[in-house]
């Protein structure tokens, strides 16, 4: 597997929605190369007959009754909002308005 490089770190940081400074990009690239280098040793483990474990619990499909319960009051939920409009969280438009719409 090719070593991770600066442009890939920048791309992945974009996927993770994290703005990085140039200095961070340089530093993290070197550090992640070292960490991924240590992770590479997994390649040598024979896992051809081994199922993956997502969890160690002997549980699956935990069900409960679907009973209506009171929710938190709207004011409590919105109390921590960075910006709001009435009972809504206010954010920027995620799509530009088309002038011909």
């Amino acid at each position: 597997m090719p070593a991770i490089d600066r442009s890939r770190v920048e791309h992945v940081a974009g996927l993770a929605r994290i703005a990085l400074t140039d200095d961070e990009l340089d530093r993290f690239t070197g550090q992640l190369q070292v960490v991924l280098g240590a992770i590479e040793q997994l390649k040598d483990v024979d896992t051809s007959a081994v199922p993956p474990s997502a969890s160690v619990l002997p549980l699956e499909d935990v069900m409960r009754e679907d009973e209506p319960r009171p929710s938190l009051p709207v004011e409590v939920v919105l109390a921590q909002a960075p910006d709001r409009e009435g009972d809504l969280f206010r954010v920027q438009a995620s799509l530009e308005e088309r002038p011909d719409a």
């Binding site: 550090q31 992770i39 081994v50 939920v77 920027q92």
Partner: protein, 485 residues
């Protein structure tokens, strides 16, 4: 008041003899916490604590008080507390006030315990030195130039320094046991599924578990008794009731204790640590246990598995910090730019590194090579533990390869920092319970002995730990005593 009590059992006894009241006790501990020189606390809650202490005194007078009533405790600031700031030591949550209590907090409240405030940690519990806090490093009460371990370093330091009788921490790869070892207190991680994580800020959900930091093994069992048990709000909790304190005095005579050779490989393990652990093993032998050499051949793959699974889960869990509903928002030119700027400004370097690593491991083209591969090796590690527990009752190992290291020593070398957890993270990968107990000093700094038991065998875990504690005096050492000596 003569010296404040150090253990839950002593506190409970002195409260019941009316030698002191819960309010006096809360005031004494709050004063110690306010004067804390180690940066162990992020927020104190004096009014809340005094109110709880008053209620505790009423309950003690009425005579229906559980053991934890009136006992002052420290809550890691990743555990949500209704109406009291909870930040996970991150700028992205600065000033965040939860709308509800975590189940573990509710359970301690119901028993009348007195929460003094919230303790410092590595941001989102990502670290093993407590230097990754957005609000400053925690100092080790044994030597303020050194780290207390992490990520539950604030709770560990507060208990070590006598600023709280017990603390709660969270352990994803060693974050209770390792600071317990480096700060000279008992730190215990329960079996995955024992303790509800409802209301705890999620980090890596297949690994995270809440547990106690205390000054005695019995105290750790008392806290477990309070917080264990199924919770309808957390579908990963299991329904297997257990009398955790039953075998505390049963001793180790006739037990088979495994010593996995991979935990004693010379590379990286300090000679002083090996010496203290070997002495502890000899002590077990003297107490009548059989010592069995065992092998867990994939131990050296644990770190690689952990540094794929854990960042991957973190990258999904921390996607919620987007500046929309709560927490920091830094406005950008459009919504996506707002996400990027908010997360760029709100997360510290270690969190960013892990989110990038996790996103990378989960991204198209790499998912099978990294994430699925790590999950398969996780199966192998679990099977190796299963096989070993067919022949032994518990495992004994060092908790950490080193004693507390100087602040700043590993901050520019993430891989070196990650290696601090090399002996603790296998128990998280396999979901097993583990405890670190003080087992002496190396160059004046505490060494922790780790005991690991099979899943749901906390009674065996505490039995072995208590036998060691009863036979030795290491747990009675604390930094104030060491300084006076």
């Amino acid at each position: 008041m003569r010296e404040v009590p150090r253990t839950i059992t002593e506190t409970a006894q002195r409260l019941r003899s009316r030698e002191l009241s819960a309010v006096e006790l809360a005031d004494a501990f709050l004063a110690a916490a306010e004067a804390d020189p180690f940066n162990a606390w992020l927020h104190l809650a004096p009014e809340h604590a005094r109110e709880q202490a008053k209620a505790a005194d009423a309950r003690l007078r009425a005579g229906d008080a559980p053991l934890l009533t009136g006992v002052p405790w420290a809550c890691k600031d990743i555990i949500g507390t209704k109406g009291i700031v909870t930040t996970a030591a991150s700028k992205i949550l600065a000033g965040y006030i939860p709308a509800y209590d975590a189940t573990v907090v509710t359970r301690l409240n119901e028993r009348g315990a007195v929460m003094l405030g919230k303790t410092n940690l590595d941001e989102f519990a990502m670290g093993s030195s407590n230097e990754n806090s957005a609000f400053g490093a925690v100092r080790n009460p044994w030597d303020p130039a050194r780290v207390p371990g992490g990520s539950s370093g604030g709770s560990a330091a507060a208990v070590a320094a006598g600023q709280a009788v017990f603390g709660l921490g969270t352990d994803t790869g060693g974050s209770i046991r390792q600071p317990g070892a480096l700060s000279g207190v008992v730190g215990m991680k329960p079996t995955y599924g024992r303790v509800p994580r409802y209301g705890v800020v999620a980090f890596a959900s297949s690994l995270d578990q809440v547990g106690p930091l205390t000054s005695s093994v019995e105290d750790a069992a008392i806290v477990c008794e309070a917080i264990f048990g199924i919770d309808p709000h957390d579908a990963t909790t299991i329904d297997r009731p257990i009398d955790v304190r039953r075998d505390l005095d049963a001793g180790v005579k006739g037990l088979r204790l495994g010593v996995p050779k991979e935990y004693f490989s010379p590379a990286g393990v300090e000679p002083g640590v090996t010496k203290a652990i070997r002495a502890a093993i000899a002590q077990f032998e003297k107490l009548g246990a059989s010592i069995v050499d065992v092998s867990l051949p994939s131990t050296d793959k644990g770190l690689a598995v952990y540094y794929i699974v854990q960042p991957s889960e973190a990258s999904a869990n921390l996607a919620r910090y987007d500046g929309v509903r709560y927490g920091l928002r830094v406005a950008g030119r459009d919504l996506v730019d707002t996400y990027r700027k908010t997360r760029g400004a709100g997360f510290g370097p270690e969190v960013k590194r892990r989110l990038i690593l996790g996103t990378y491991a989960l991204s198209a083209g790499y998912y099978d090579a990294y994430y699925v591969k790590a999950q398969k090796v996780r199966t192998i590690i679990k099977r190796e533990f299963d096989a070993v527990f067919e022949t032994v009752d518990a495992l004994v190992t060092p908790t950490s390869p080193t004693v507390a290291f100087p602040i700043g020593a590993k901050m520019n070398d993430p891989l070196q920092m990650y290696l601090n957890d090399v002996f603790t993270l296998p128990a998280n990968i396999a979901g097993l319970p583990g405890v670190s107990v003080p087992c002496g000093l190396s160059e004046g700094l505490p060494v922790g002995l780790q005991i690991i038991a099979n899943s749901y065998q906390e009674r065996m875990l505490f039995r072995v730990a208590a036998a060691f504690e009863h036979a030795t005096e290491h747990h009675q050492l604390h930094p104030m005593k060491a300084a006076a000596a």
